[in-house]
């Protein structure tokens, strides 16, 4: 099946909105492209060694086919002289960390309808007497979501006011909310799929979407094998931008955006992002942390559990 076989009215309209007709562009045999080709063929620089610049350019996690090792030119020559074919596999770099994370993303999405998560947001600024934390506990179950936000104590002097606990439940197209452990307000109809505020909130809380966005991050390295919550996990790390990190954590996106709006983003250009993957290839934990020069740091850490066995969500009653 090709792209044109994927039938959909909106995609058909989008095809018509294509701003560039490839057939009208210069061909490879036109003067400029032909000159460019000859310049490329004249290039004699060796391919980057595995693990240097190559991984960030590769759209695939690992070599898609056996590779000739250019550096071992003598071996190739000897093989040709002997009129044999020699195929040398790249064994020097071990498993590709980015590919491993992306595979874990796919595997985790498959079970994302049922899971629980806990997110901890930590602000550790130099002015604070001690770090301030906010936790968010979430349950995802068969398309329904419930979560509770529990903020730390107020730090009025530091600009963090008293915040109440806050809970929301989205179940069967209805929303309920409760502030400061008070009575549930609702049901409020959630018109999913139409872009209404309720639908957007629900979309942000969808477990699979947040995990899915991790698949858009690259250049992971393998930190090593560790234990998390009694489970053996592989630890991977990359660095990303504020936008990239924000996109990878749907639940904490609001908090993250609030912070980055308050702080000049130039101070946050590098954010460390860590992912832990268990033996079933499921993402068990992910965190990002940023250091703001002269101000302090903040971090967001989310752990997931109960894959496939999260409890059902029912409408709350007062």
């Amino acid at each position: 099946m090709t792209g044109t076989d994927i039938h959909d009215d909106l995609l058909t309209e989008l095809r018509r909105a294509n701003p560039v007709n490839a057939d009208s562009l210069a061909s490879a045999t036109d003067a400029d492209p032909a000159r460019s080709l000859e310049r490329i063929l004249a290039d004699t620089e060796d391919a980057p060694a595995p693990g240097r610049a190559a991984p960030s350019l590769s759209p695939f996690g690992s070599p898609a086919r056996p590779r000739w090792i250019n550096a071992a030119a003598a071996a190739v020559v000897i093989a040709l002289v002997a009129a044999t074919t020699i195929v040398v596999y790249d064994t020097g770099t071990g498993r590709d960390a980015t590919a491993a994370v992306h595979q874990a993303v796919e595997a985790t999405i498959q079970v994302s309808d049922s899971a629980t998560s806990q997110t901890t947001v930590t602000f550790d600024f130099d002015d604070f007497a001690e770090p301030w934390e906010l936790t968010i506990e979430t349950t995802f179950s068969d398309g329904n979501v419930e979560y509770q936000v529990t903020p730390g104590p107020d730090l009025e002097d530091m600009g963090i006011p008293q915040m109440d606990t806050y809970a929301e439940v989205f179940v069967d197209g209805q929303a309920y909310r409760s502030v400061a452990d008070g009575p549930w307000d609702g049901p409020i109809a959630v018109d999913s799929g139409t872009g209404s505020p309720g639908a957007s909130i629900q979309s942000n809380l969808t477990f699979g979407v947040a995990i899915d966005d991790l698949g858009g991050l690259y250049d992971f390295i393998e930190v090593g094998d560790e234990e998390f919550d009694g489970v053996d996990v592989a630890h991977y790390r990359t660095h990303t931008t504020p936008a990239g990190a924000g996109a990878g954590f749907g639940m904490s996106l609001g908090m993250f955006m609030m912070m980055t709006n308050q702080q000049p983003t130039e101070q946050l250009d590098s954010i460390q992002l860590d992912v832990w993957v268990d033996g079933d290839n499921l993402i068990r934990r992910a965190s990002y942390s940023a250091f703001i020069d002269g101000t302090g740091s903040f971090s967001v850490s989310t752990s997931w559990a109960d894959f496939g066995v999260a409890p059902p969500i029912t409408a709350p009653t007062n």
């Binding site: 701003p19 061909s27 759209p59 898609a64 955006m257």
Partner: protein
Amino acid sequence: MTAMMAVRMLGAHDQEWFRGVYSETYRPLLAYARRRVDHATADEVVADTFLTAWRRRDDVPDGSERLWLFGVARNMIRNAARSNRRRQAAQLRLRFANPPEAIDSVADAADDRSTLLRTALGFLSEADREVLMLVAWEELSHAEIGQVLGISANASAIRVHRARKRLAARLEHLDHSGAGESNVKELRQRGQAALERPDEHQPERPDDDSARKAQ
């Protein structure tokens, strides 16, 4: 056969193979790049992508050369965008609302509905926008999109589905927040203002408000 002759034969074979790949994929790769960045940048991306393919010719998968090149070009465009993300975002939105004037467009590309669609597309995340462009403009299948992005066909189908829903929601929002044509004009003006004062303008992402409310 001497060693030197063998080396020359190997080089000649590579050149023949690369000329074939270049001939087959130059246009689609140039179209891919010009759909995403301005002319000058697109030309640089295409040249750099082919240079990368030449230097890493042993990594290019047989039969999937075009998809591999798309993947390399995508990463180059993403890396370039990191250097000035905010300005890039403003430029991107303006660019999607106003297709490049010098490009020969397909028949319907300039009508209001198409302009509105491209505007809506410009407000999506990079990941959503990319899968929609790959399916609609590069006309790739889910499996092929998976090869470009380094994910499975199933995962790419999921991404297309979700991105399509978000495009529909954004489109409906644009449709309902004002008459289509006037809305597009306003968006164009906002995009222009963003280009002139990039630090003061951060177009709101569709989910930002709701995310704040969720906290």
